[in-house]
C-alpha cells in the first residue's frame, strides 16, 4: 500500500509533465481537463472500494458451502434411493443456475474469484466421489449425523476460500 502511495505521488509529480506527451496527444486528441492529481488517499479509497465491493463473494462461497452440505446430507440420508434421489439430485443444477445469475448481477468480481470457486468445487466433488463419500456410505450408511459432519467437512474448501475473501485487505 505504501509503495503504491509513493508511486502515485511520483505519478503526479513527474507524470503530469508527460501527460500530454506526443504519445498521449496521439491517443487523446482532446486531453481530458477533468483529470486531477491523485493522492495517496485516492488510492486507498480506490482499493477499499474495490475490496468492499468484492466482499459479496465471501458470502457467496459460504452459501454454496452450506447448501452443498445440506444437499449432500439430504440425498444421502432422506432421499437416498429411488426416484426421490434423482429429483433431489436434479435440484443441484437449478441451484447452480440461480447462484450464477446472482453472481452475474454483482458489479465487481474480486481477483481470483473464478479460480477460487473452481478449486473449491473440484476438491469438494473429488472428496464426495472418491474419499469422504464412499467412506461415509460404507461405514455409516444413511445415518444423518455422520453425513452432516462429513458434508460440512467436504465444504471446508468453500469456507476457507470465503474466509480469505472476507478478511482480504
Amino acid at each position: 500500500m505504501g509503495g503504491v502511495a509513493v508511486s502515485l505521488t511520483i505519478t503526479y509529480a513527474c507524470g503530469m509533465l508527460n501527460q500530454f506527451s506526443s504519445t498521449d496527444r496521439h491517443r487523446n486528441p482532446q486531453p481530458v481537463r477533468s483529470e486531477r492529481p491523485l493522492t495517496p488517499d485516492d488510492v486507498e479509497r480506490l482499493e477499499r472500494g474495490v475490496t468492499r465491493a468484492g466482499r459479496w463473494f465471501a458470502g457467496y462461497l459460504a452459501l454454496i458451502g452450506l447448501v452443498s452440505a445440506a444437499w449432500l446430507t439430504v440425498i444421502e440420508t432422506t432421499f437416498a434411493e429411488g426416484i426421490a434421489r434423482w429429483l433431489a439430485v436434479s435440484a443441484w443444477p437449478i441451484f447452480v443456475v440461480v447462484v450464477s445469475h446472482v453472481a452475474e448481477r454483482q458489479a465487481v468480481h474480486p481477483r481470483g474469484a473464478t479460480r477460487a470457486l473452481a478449486v473449491a468445487t473440484a476438491i469438494w466433488f473429488a472428496a464426495y466421489l472418491f474419499a469422504v463419500g464412499p467412506f461415509l456410505r460404507g461405514t455409516y450408511g444413511q445415518q444423518v449425523l455422520p453425513w452432516v459432519i462429513g458434508s460440512l467437512l467436504m465444504s471446508l474448501p468453500f469456507f476457507v476460500a470465503a474466509a480469505r475473501y472476507l478478511w482480504r485487505r
Binding site: G3, V4, V6, S7, L8, T9, I10, T11, Y12, C14, G15, M16, N18, Q19, S21, T23, D24, R27, N28, V32, S34, E35, R36, P37, L38, D42, V43, L46, E47, G49, V50, T51, A53, G54, E104, R105, A107, V108, H109, P110, R111, G112, A113, T114
Partner: protein, 100 residues
C-alpha cells in the same frame, strides 16, 4: 545512463488511466459503471480511456445482455497486469532513488 522515468509506461502514466488500472488490478472484472463511479469520471471520459487501454492490449471489454440492459464488463489482460506491475515497480525504484 538513462533515467528510469524513460521506462514508465506512457499509456498507464495518465492519472485517470493509472486509477482505472489500479481499480481493475484489484478485481478479476468490474462493471463499467462501477469503474466510472469509483474513479469519479463521466461515461464518455471512461470510454475514451478504456479505448486507449484496449488498443494497448491492457484491458478487455466484454458486453453481456442482462434482460433489456447491456452490461459492460472490464478486466485487465495478463499483459495489462504485467505492464501495471512493471510500471509500479519503476515508480517505486524512482521513489527509492535508484537508477538503472
Amino acid at each position: 545512463m538513462k533515467h528510469l522515468r524513460h521506462q514508465l509506461d506512457p499509456v498507464i502514466h495518465s492519472p485517470v488511466r493509472f486509477a482505472i488500472m489500479a481499480t481493475l488490478n484489484a478485481a478479476e472484472r468490474a462493471e463499467f459503471r462501477f469503474v466510472r463511479d469509483t474513479v469519479e469520471i463521466s461515461d464518455s471520459v471512461l470510454s475514451q480511456h478504456i479505448t486507449t487501454l484496449e488498443e494497448a492490449g491492457y484491458v478487455r471489454v466484454r458486453k453481456r445482455q442482462d434482460g433489456r440492459r447491456t452490461r459492460t464488463w472490464l478486466s485487465l489482460t495478463s499483459r495489462g497486469r504485467a505492464a501495471f506491475a512493471r510500471h509500479l515497480e519503476v515508480l517505486n525504484q524512482i521513489a527509492a532513488g535508484s537508477h538503472a
